[in-house]
């Protein structure tokens, strides 16, 4: 593995980290795998695209890029609130079993994707080039500027998230709720507000990752199926741990770039699957090693 591959891998991994953390946040608090996150990412990729096209006439390069990110992030956050309201609020008040959350989130994901398919009619779009596709040289190695930007923006948004989680009151509330939702309720906390805040945060992350995915690949309604990468990263890192998801995502990014270099892009998913299986056999708790108990 060369240093160059490592650099590319980390930059890919940072995008995966955004996906994985957005997914882990919800897992932490409601204890189910939120498949609707994928549909949300597809929608926000389109929101970002529309924002970019509209704003292109007024601003360009870096401000345009940032404006696009903000639009997609806000769109994602609001959409996540809607998703929570439609798909999960009633389930929570009914005390439904986890299976129902599950099926509800998958359905929501497929629904969002197919609404997009109808309106975008499966056409492929691509983002306007925000920045000249230049590269920066570090001695022998090169980094493309878009990659560098993605790395910068994803690490800083993850940094902000970690700050919010650990240093603010709402962050404390979210962590309390993920620890034990019933006790938190008894202490007089409003679960609806905290869950909504968590969904908003996860939607913001989903929005940013949607834009990055749209830039990295082309824009199509099934873009959100990249959520698989977030899942795999969470499995490697350990479900229910945010740091685990981060580590898993970067590892996965590096691994994928390496596999693409050695066995080709087509076979990479097969090997990633095998690695995931081996991981589950040897260390089912993932790297972070948090044991998530099935609640009786």
């Amino acid at each position: 593995m060369t240093i160059q591959q490592l650099i590319n891998g980390i930059s890919l991994g940072s995008v995966y980290a955004l996906i994985a953390v957005g997914f882990a946040l919800i897992f932490n608090i409601l204890k189910f795998s939120n498949f609707s996150h994928g549909g949300l990412m597809s929608v926000t990729a389109y929101i970002g695209y529309i924002a970019a096209i509209v704003l292109m006439n007024y601003i360009d390069s870096l401000p345009l890029f940032m404006a696009t990110l903000v639009a997609a992030a806000l769109g994602g956050g609001l959409l996540a609130l809607v998703v929570e309201r439609v798909a999960f609020r009633r389930l929570r008040s009914n005390n439904s079993p986890v299976i129902y959350y599950f099926i509800s989130s998958i359905t929501m994901g497929i629904l969002l994707e197919n609404i997009l398919t109808i309106f975008a009619s499966s056409n492929f779009y691509s983002y306007p080039p925000f920045l000249p596709a230049a590269v920066i040289n570090f001695g022998k190695f090169t980094i493309a500027i878009p990659d560098l930007l993605m790395l910068f923006f994803s690490t800083s948004s993850l940094g902000i998230l970690l700050f919010v989680l650990h240093k603010t009151k709402i962050g404390l509330a979210i962590r309390t709720m993920s620890f034990d939702i019933n006790t938190a309720k008894l202490m007089g906390m409003d679960p609806n507000a905290v869950v909504a805040a968590t969904f908003f945060a996860s939607g913001v992350l989903g929005g940013i990752s949607g834009v990055f995915l749209g830039i990295n690949y082309t824009l199509y309604p099934q873009l959100g199926q990249m959520i698989v990468k977030g899942f795999v990263a969470s499995v490697i890192g350990g479900l229910g741990s945010i740091t685990g998801a981060l580590i898993g995502a970067v590892l996965l990014g590096v691994l994928e770039i390496f596999l693409i270099g050695s066995v080709g892009a087509g076979w990479a998913p097969v090997f990633v699957f095998i690695i995931m299986l081996v991981f589950l056999l040897l260390r089912p708790r993932g790297i972070a090693g948090v044991v998530v108990q099935e609640k009786a």
């Binding site: 299976i99 099926i103 497929i110 899942f231 990633v272 299986l277 089912p284 099935e294 009786a296």
Partner: protein
């Protein structure tokens, strides 16, 4: 007539898939998003054997089912010990990996363009008989010791374990039965259409099967059968625009989950006794 028969045949084939999902999801409460990959395994293994190696059809079908069993073991053994979420994640990855493999081994499977020119051996009646046999197996399983253990496991895994049920073995057995059944459906599929491509087996197909089980009612086999006839057969016949069809599915499922979590049929099953009861009630009322 030809058209109706072919629609019914496809409905029958997907009904077998739905029955597999019913075993895994409805009875045991696990989620498999790679169930369609077993369809792919059955279809490709048998088609390649018959077409390229001139193996006889029954032997090819048996090998296809064994391959499905093997794949089920590979996926099942590491995952049954873990939380249920993992099963859905792993089966999901498994499905995608199978599709990637099919897409890439161009010299054997024809890659993304698919495999064509498979002789047509199956017809509606073969499918019908298979559906009836599978239905019998599933009904038998549901009412056997294992089926009841599955129900216990679904509602509370910890309690089931405490009652001495070997939860892991039970999950694995159920998963394997579903795998083999779905693989056989794949054999039927390829020898009916005489053409397969990897794109037909994506996770959306698996998710659609799961949705069908839910719409019918997770506790009711009758519900699953009725829902799959309703949701796959009718739209085909009425020529719905396929994209709107999925949206309608999704809205129905969201409504059901939110307002009638037990599904259309709830716990009810169609049986002779029930019909008699129903008629008697009607007679009294009249």
């Amino acid at each position: 007539m030809e058209y109706i028969l072919s629609t019914l045949t496809f409905t029958g084939i997907s009904l077998i898939g739905v029955l597999g999902v019913y075993l895994v999801t409805g009875l045991t409460g696990l989620f498999s998003f790679g169930q369609a990959a077993f369809l792919a395994i059955g279809a490709y293994v048998s088609a390649v054997l018959v077409k390229n190696f001139a193996v006889s059809l029954p032997l090819a079908a048996i090998i296809a089912m064994l391959t499905g069993l093997l794949a089920g073991l590979v996926v099942g053994v590491p995952t049954v010990r873990l939380r249920r979420d993992y099963i859905s994640l792993v089966t999901f990855g498994f499905g995608e990996a199978i599709i990637a493999t099919l897409n890439n081994s161009t010299n054997i499977t024809g890659g993304a363009t698919g495999l064509s020119g498979v002789p047509q051996y199956t017809n509606f009646w073969v499918v019908l008989v298979t559906v009836i046999i599978c239905l019998a197996i599933v009904i038998g399983y549901k009412h056997s010791k294992y089926g009841r253990q599955c129900l216990a496991l679904r509602s509370d895994e910890l309690a089931a374990k405490a009652m001495g049920i070997n939860v892991e073995r039970l999950k694995l057995i159920t998963f394997l039965i579903a795998s083999v059944m779905t693989s056989f459906a794949g054999v039927l599929y390829v020898f009916y259409t005489s053409y397969v491509e990897p794109g037909a087996f994506g996770w959306v197909v698996s998710a659609e099967w799961t949705i069908i089980v839910f719409v019918g009612g997770i506790n009711s086999l009758t519900g699953a059968v009725a829902a799959s006839i309703l949701l796959t057969g009718l739209p085909e016949m009425l020529r719905f625009a396929s994209e709107w069809r999925i949206i309608i599915y999704c809205v129905i499922v969201l409504l059901i989950i939110n307002f009638r979590p037990t599904g259309i049929f709830g716990e009810n099953e169609l049986s002779l006794r029930r019909i008699k009861q129903f008629i008697r009630k009607g007679a009294k009322a009249a």
